[in-house]
């Protein structure tokens, strides 16, 4: 069963932490996408 933790403190650092993780994930996604495009271009040429 899923355990739930309620965080009512609007100033909690947790949200900042989750936003930071989301930002890192977005950076990784862009890096991966760039590499995929480079591979595609290399295949074409």
């Amino acid at each position: 069963m899923l355990k739930k933790i309620v965080i009512s403190n609007r100033n909690s650092k947790v949200l900042a932490f989750l936003n930071e993780i989301e930002r890192k994930k977005e950076e990784m996604r862009k890096k991966v996408e760039k590499r995929l495009n480079e591979r595609r271009q290399a295949k074409k040429s």
């Binding site: 899923l2 355990k3 739930k4 933790i5 309620v6 965080i7 009512s8 403190n9 609007r10 100033n11 909690s12 650092k13 947790v14 949200l15 900042a16 932490f17 989750l18 993780i21 989301e22 890192k24 994930k25 990784m28 996604r29 991966v32 996408e33 590499r35 995929l36």
Partner: protein
């Protein structure tokens, strides 16, 4: 490493036959990217030892063994919704099992992407994949929901981990993760 017993355990990780081939990119900082292509999209599964490092600094087992885990989907131009392809799930299972063969002590920490508001759907889908997986008896999955007051409403975030059942520290890791998660409500801003 926890010795030969654990290596043997992980050597028996199942391998789905109907799956896509993948290739691996490894970076100098330890990040690993496993990529495969379907007719509709390209998928990359990542294992990133640095993703959560700052946050778990006070939790030695998590600090030394955690890899951020997740995957990206790049849909091909002109394709709106990829078909429901079971080989995608099986390939991701194979990648996770292969990763555990090489990294038997790994703790794969994840949280469901929430920027588009679909984190609940992602959590449910991952739970279904796990429950239907042949690796379920070899890998434990544990997830918690964090209901965080954001503006005037509570938004639920899902954070969890995967760990090999052969990991001798499995109970200690569970306790550390629970302590880590339970510390969130007291985590005042500043």
């Amino acid at each position: 490493m926890n010795g030969d017993k654990q290596k043997n355990h992980n050597a028996h990780m199942p391998r789905a036959l109907e799956s896509y081939d993948y290739y691996v990119d490894e970076e100098n900082n330890g990040e690993k990217y496993f990529t495969f292509e379907t007719p509709d999209a390209v998928y990359t599964v990542y294992f990133n030892p640095n993703e959560y490092k700052n946050r778990v600094a006070d939790y030695p087992l998590l600090l030394n063994n955690t890899h951020g885990f997740g995957f990206f989907q790049f849909i091909r131009d002109g394709v709106t919704i990829p078909k429901n392809d079971i080989k995608i799930r099986r390939t991701i299972e194979n990648i996770i099992c292969d990763f555990y063969r090489e990294n038997p002590n790994a703790i794969l920490l994840y949280h469901c992407y929430y920027a588009d508001g679909k984190q609940h759907k992602r959590s449910k889908k991952f739970e279904r994949w796990y429950n239907e997986s042949a690796a379920k008896n070899l890998i434990t999955k544990h997830e918690i929901g964090l209901e965080i007051l954001t503006g005037e409403e509570y938004i639920t975030h899902y954070i969890g981990y995967l760990i090999s059942n052969a990991n001798k520290e499995i109970d200690s890791v569970h306790k550390e993760f629970e302590t880590f998660a339970l510390s969130f409500p007291d985590d005042k801003g500043g």
